[in-house]
Symmetry: C2
Subunit: 531 residues, 2 copies
């Protein structure tokens, strides 16, 4: 999101998206920043609301093309540093720490940060006062009255802003289709207490490495039940010491042990906190589920807790992990069985509460998929915002505000840029189309040698298939196709070979025959050698 | 599932599974029946509990190899006929109708069918009396006290069976992790009434084509609100007339209209029932969402109801469909927003109720994934079945019962057979591995021409890539790789070319270079022509 006023602009958050099932082979999806790059000289800074990947993950790809300061809270900057370091970009970055309640002037914009509760500590919303009015960006938030770190929602600032008058609210819509209030992190204690009271062996808790408050809770309950805690999994092993250093995680004295000492502790005195709550194939938990983890082998009596919700699209992976853990004799506790996870996003009543406190003239639902924006829009109308003042905007839409009006005035290109390995943007629609085709029916390569002058076939054609059919069993299908191709090409021999014609002949002949025999459409590539 | 006693055997149900995300390009998954085929002469019949695809869908693949009668209720046979007809197999099939409460002797087995409530009418469970005791197969069931067709659960037969003594229950576990009771189909009326009362334009209801009772409900509520009903989508247009013919669907007089007359009816007087509740890309609803349907274009004011739950793995497709419908201005009502769907499977209390009525000595949880079997096993233990008498079996496990014992004694191969197009079983682990590889990073074909005698390179190598990188933009990557390959092969020329060595040289040279430059690992195929 970019905000512009005359010669000044600020960017708010700079995240990644994870690829959906159709984005084959893609590692990450980042926004197309071309509109921002074209205005690079106007940009006074990138302001980060919190340290989740979907808010900071694109920085390593954007900063090299947009030299500007990055503003964030202590924890957010800590996580950004880690990301930039991995990309060897830390030296060049201008990172500036801000605090809740701090004010900051960036060109025409006067920013004030206020604390919000979310599934990572040290998150903020931002009130941005511009010459035409104040715009409030909610960040990701819920109204948790009893958060683990004791820092509740900043009702004071919100009330004050509302009293002074707010032009527009840009509000988190992720849970706009869920009625009521989201539960406080506090309810986790109860669920964990009951799990810990019942467990007789090791307890293995898997959660998001950024969910510091959850990690804190597991450590506290472990200490209470006389268990030591080991931390396992790459991002968990990175984040925990960092969060301790920065003061956001406070393990009870003596509770933490090294993961290499796991086997020296009695099962009933051990808790393991690990990555893998989304079933990610290379995570610690997935490795345990596959009996492929270097240190930990699941044994009957282990209790595994998935303290998370599957992110949409990950359900199959998560379910498979749960099944595999059960098969090895673990007792698996997951959200469906016990409330071992609560969301960090506010539900409908919280969204209304924010709007009620800020009483904005305009509402722009942000974050979440289209249906969530629609539900958020309906909530806004239900609390009295006129329908014309609720603006459902999608990526690329330009909203223009004056002190008396707000409307979507234009649309600029703002699609996705795919990151695959080291390539940023070299995988596009065409490459994905090919990958989908290859994934569906495989490939058939026809190697053909023809006489340079006569175009006559030299030797019979050779067919190589991959991902199409199992050759040892289906070689007759290919043999028949090869024979047909040979006959067709021989009858076609002419004085002057036309490669384009030849290739399309090969594709059509093979394609039709193989579809008739198999009802599959492998990609067909012909390699023609002229001699 | 096959049951054997000395020289007799029966098969219960014969279904398909739908491929998961890793089974690329696979259309259907059927069970490996080799164990059954080997005993074909013992098989006295295939007994079908109900007409869902996961219980009948493999018949067209199995019957040609296993000539035996198929027993099922009227509706199940009606649906089986449709399937067999599509495969041109109807002439050869021996289909025999059975009724609830009917008894049937098949070799050593005395079968008694009893009605169960499920999300398709005319479903049965089966009590199978064998020389060593009575085994009850639950079919798919819930205890719906107020079903739409008025035919409630057969408590009488269940009670009688329990009174006489049951050796083992094979019970549906699909919802074993859900507490309480599943809702009656009756609750759907209330939700639909409120949707119909609020809607001012057309109402489009998408559900499973086999969910006849839901279709009946939509028709009844439509009649009540003065709406005509059109049926759209291939399986819906097949099933509705068939269900009417067979007496399982009874549309109110004059409510049904032809889909081609849709445009002659006022929006507020029209309901459309269609396929696509799982977001299947070629379904009627997905086409509407993509503005690609021949007859129906979504317009603001339309209300779309998804009367279904996403089957795990389909969440992304369903969500995308919902978003697209919202984008076109429809109001979309789905399970999360309003209870417009209830499950056809019993929850924990119903599973306990069945066991309480039957009081079996042994329980074998069936249907559902592994975690559901575990939860069902726990429920069985909670109602007093000794843990040793609860047998969690997986595909291929052989359970041996005597009148006094039951245990898993052996395991036979019983994996999956993949159906892809016309091929049954020719797509196996290797083909899928190749497809995953191709899907992830694409393919690179290296065409190389060498001198037959000297092995010397003739011409520079040619590289063709698909699904790897976007060539017009990244041609320098390929140019560099081509040059490197040329140099490497030239330095390797020897008197006698060794193809295996040459191919591995090509693969290694290109693979290493491209991984270093792109961090991708396309499949590399070399096509070597000797001249």
């Amino acid at each position: 999101m970019i905000m512009e006023y005359e010669d000044d602009a600020i960017v708010i958050d700079c995240g990644v998206m994870f690829p959906d099932a159709e984005m084959l082979g893609v590692d990450l999806v980042i926004p197309d920043f071309s509109y921002v790059y074209e205005r690079a000289e106007k940009v006074r800074g990138i302001v980060i609301t919190h340290g989740h990947e979907d808010h900071i993950g694109a920085l390593p790809y954007v900063l090299p093309k947009l030299q500007t300061p990055v503003y964030g809270t202590k924890l957010a900057l800590g996580l950004i540093r880690a990301r930039l370091e991995e990309h060897g970009l830390l030296g060049d970055a201008d990172l500036r720490e801000i605090q809740p309640l701090q004010e900051l002037r960036l060109g025409a914009f006067q920013l004030k940060f206020f604390h919000v509760c979310h599934s990572i500590p040290n998150g903020v919303g931002i009130a941005i006062t511009t010459p035409v009015g104040t715009v409030v960006h909610s960040g990701d938030y819920k109204f948790d009255q009893t958060p683990v770190d004791g820092i509740g929602p900043d009702f004071h600032t919100l009330g004050e802003l509302g009293g002074r008058g707010v032009l527009a609210v840009f509000g988190d819509s992720t849970y706009a289709d869920r009625p009521g209030y989201s539960d406080s992190e506090q309810v986790i204690y109860e669920s964990f207490e009951s799990v810990f009271a019942e467990a007789s062996g090791r307890i293995i808790v898997s959660t998001f490495a950024s969910l510091i408050s959850r990690i804190q809770q597991v450590m506290e309950v472990s200490a209470e039940y006389g268990r030591m805690v080991a931390v396992v999994g790459r991002s968990m092993e990175t984040n925990v010491p960092r969060a301790i250093d920065l003061g956001f995680l406070d393990p009870p004295d003596g509770v933490l042990i090294d993961k290499d000492d796991i086997d020296h502790v009695e099962p009933e005195e051990l808790t393991i906190i690990c990555t893998g709550s989304q079933g990610e194939p290379t995570s610690a938990l997935a490795r345990m589920a596959n009996r492929d983890h270097r240190l930990i082998r699941i044994q009957p009596g282990d209790t595994v807790v998935l303290s998370s919700s599957p992110i949409p699209g990950n359900e199959e992976l998560v379910n498979r992990t749960i099944d595999r853990l059960f098969r090895q004799g673990a007792n698996v506790v997951y959200e469906k069985i016990k409330p071992v996870h609560v969301s960090g996003h506010g539900s409908q009543e919280e969204l209304k509460l924010l709007l009620g406190m800020l009483r904005p003239e305009y509402v722009v639902p942000i974050h979440g998929e289209y249906r969530h924006l629609v539900h958020h829009a309906r909530l806004a109308e239900s609390v009295g915002i006129p329908a014309d003042n609720v603006l459902i905007a999608e990526n690329g839409d330009i909203i223009e505000f004056t002190s008396t009006s707000g409307r979507i005035v234009d649309k600029v290109p703002a699609g996705y840029v795919f990151v695959d390995g080291l390539g940023v943007g070299d995988v596009g629609a065409e490459v994905l189309r090919d990958r989908r085709r290859l994934a569906g029916d495989g490939i058939l390569i026809a190697a053909i040698t023809v006489d340079r002058r006569t175009g006559a076939l030299i030797d019979e054609p050779d067919l190589i298939s991959r991902g199409f059919l199992y050759e040892p069993e289906s070689s007759d299908v290919l043999d028949r196709a090869k024979k047909l191709l040979g006959q067709t090409l021989e009858s076609e021999a002419s004085t002057e070979p036309d490669w384009t014609y030849l290739k399309s002949k090969v594709r059509n002949t093979l394609g039709r025959r193989l579809y008739a025999e198999t009802r599959r459409r492998p990609m067909i590539i012909s390699v023609v050698t002229e001699v």
